[in-house]
Amino acid sequence: MPRRKKHKEIFAQGNEAVVEGALMAGCSFYGGYPITPSSEIMEIMANRLPLTEDGVFIQLEDEIASMGAVIGASLAGRKAMTATSGPGFSLKQENLGYACMAEAPLVLVNVMRGGPSTGLPTSPAQGDVQQARWGTHGDHPIIVLSASDVQECLEMSITAFNMAEKYRTPVILLIDEITAHTREKIKIPHPNEYEVVSRIVPSMPPEWYKPFEETVRGVAPMPPLGSGYRFHVTGLTHDVNGFPTSRPDEVVDLMERLHRKIDQFFYDIQLYEELQTDDAEVVVIAYGSVARSAEYAVLQAREAGVKAGLLKLKTLFPYPRRATEKILGQAGRLVVPEMNMGQMSREVKRVACGRASIRTINRIDGQIIAPSEILKVIMQG
């Protein structure tokens, strides 16, 4: 057996790991505006991107502009990203909708802090979960991912780019201030240990190319601007050529395809981890930094003889329905701890339809939910 090369290990915070992952996934454009607690992502990008082969870094005048620049770069063929937090996330929503409509792949990282408004700029929260799903106006499909520790920040950052490129869609990576600023040792995977997906570019002659054509996957190939495929991109409802339309049949075709291209790959997109759920009678459903507290609480409950389990959500939207259904078949009790007033628990309740007793644990004071708080609810029986 050839000896495996040892992994490079670094001591990093979540924001740094997001950058590492992005660069490994081929990110070559960052357009941003500083905001706590996400600024490290921008600062590290400012240091790293100019030194890569084709990397471009630019600081814009606000979050609206940074989102616009990222979409422009994406249309020009780049894997592009931006990062922000609370108030900035609100400003990103306008052009986020444009990216959904124009099917421009990009990654938007939101490091969640306490809200609403300026709120608690340096404290963690998970209050932007439903905004990530429904923040921009109109019916739109979106992929929302999360990460619970620094290693996962790196992995989910790569995954976010891969999904964006594969499905020609914006992908939101939601992390919270704790994950973003926690420093721990992480392993940098070897290049053959992770997959890098890039958008499919058209191979047909330009006159045959239809930029928004119906395909089996629902995703049409996407050429970079200036490559000979001249077409129209618009935020207006458009036909397969990209030209504005208000013909009802063409409107329906577009809207259904936009949703179907995500819907039909639910099982590919919905990522989660299970811990001791096989025989669990009480299951904690958690995501982000709270999932780490939940994991500790579950292990302690097991030691105390309670059949507890954990369902850790890595994909928040589309909501992992099947994983939840499976648990509902056996566990009578669910516990949903979150650092908000109850946002993900709405999804859990929607899927459960009264088939289990659901207890929520909510903290909105900018403090982490401790394992003991979760353990207490698990043990209450």
């Binding site: 454009f29 357009g31 100019p50 030194l51 082969e53 990397g55 471009v56 630019i58 814009l60 005048e61 606000d62 609206i64 502009a65 940074s66 989102m67 616009g68 620049a69 990222v70 979409i71 422009g72 770069a73 994406s74 249309l75 020009a76 063929g77 780049r78 592009a80 306008e94 052009n95 444009y98 970079p224 601007l225 200036g226 490559s227 000979g228 001249r230 077409f231 129209h232 991109v233 618009t234 935020g235 207006l236 036909d239 050529n241 030209f243 504005p244």
Partner: protein, 280 residues
């Protein structure tokens, strides 16, 4: 065989869809689009290298008709998309088409910052003094005292001087033309497209439907006559006494600086940094 103007325009229009266009009879936007096509043709730019980035409104709809790479963006944000495109691929010729509401109101911040950072983009601001597509509401370019749907008793606010704004913010090239003075407009536009850095060309274009009819210009002809009698070459304008200028406004080139575009500076710095580190 000489090619006529119409033949040139025909070469650059999209033939697969979308005619007739959305513009009213008498609108000046078509003249701008024709001038844009002739300017691109005169410069010999390949269609593949030209990216038209448009905002929202009547002017935003111009992009769809021409056979370039075209992006119809969100309201006021055309320059932000254009900045991303230009930084990602500096070889592309990026031309922004915006209206007065687009560029000066909702996109005012992007306008001053694009000028300040001198990104290599051509900004065409089609100023018709009104929000035309939404039905004739006041814009930041609506002259004081004129009537609009949202200023039925007369506009109380002063209008923006687009040229002064762009000059003050640091644009490389600032000019103003009108759709009545087409030959002059073409000369200005060729320069605005050709030059490096941020080039702003304001184009006075009439909106008879939404502005003229409420403001004593009953027909499109009245509006063109107003432009004809009030637009004055900058040299001549400076000779007129300030008290006698009335509604007259200057046209021509106001600023010609020679600063390199942001993308040029970025890629140069990048190459230096990489060379210092021994990378290609």
């Amino acid at each position: 065989m000489t090619i006529t103007g119409n033949e040139i325009i025909h070469q650059y229009l999209r033939h697969n869809k979308k005619f007739p266009h959305v513009l009213c009879a008498g609108c000046g936007h078509g003249i701008v689009l024709g001038t844009l096509i002739r300017s691109v043709h005169q410069l010999g730019l390949p269609k593949d290298d030209v990216v038209i980035v448009a905002g929202i409104g009547c002017s935003g709809r111009l992009a769809v008709y021409v056979d370039f790479n075209t992006i119809h963006t969100t309201h006021g944000r055309a320059l932000t998309f254009a900045t991303g495109v230009k930084m990602a691929n500096p070889k592309l010729k990026v031309i922004c088409i915006m209206g007065d509401g687009d560029a000066l109101s909702i996109g005012g911040n992007h306008m001053i910052h694009a000028a300040r950072r001198n990104i290599g983009v051509t900004a065409l601001v089609l100023n018709n003094n009104i929000y035309g597509m939404t039905g004739g509401q006041s814009s930041p370019a609506t002259p004081m005292g004129s009537v609009s749907m949202t200023a039925p008793f007369g506009q109380l606010e002063k209008n923006f001087d687009t040229v002064a704004l762009a000059s003050g913010a640091g644009a490389n090239y600032v000019a103003r033309g009108t759709v009545f003075h087409v030959r002059k407009l073409e000369k200005l536009m060729v320069k605005a497209i050709e030059r490096p850095g941020f080039n702003m060309l304001e184009i006075i274009t009439p909106c008879h439907t939404q502005f003229g009819r409420k403001n004593k210009y009953k027909t499109p002809v009245d509006m063109y006559k107003w432009i004809k009698s009030n637009a004055v070459d900058i040299e001549r304008f400076n000779e007129i006494d300030e008290g006698k200028r009335g509604e007259k406004f200057p046209i021509g080139t106001f600023v010609e600086r020679d600063l390199s575009g942001l993308e040029e500076r970025y890629y140069k710095l990048k190459a230096e940094m990489r060379k210092a580190r021994g990378e290609k």
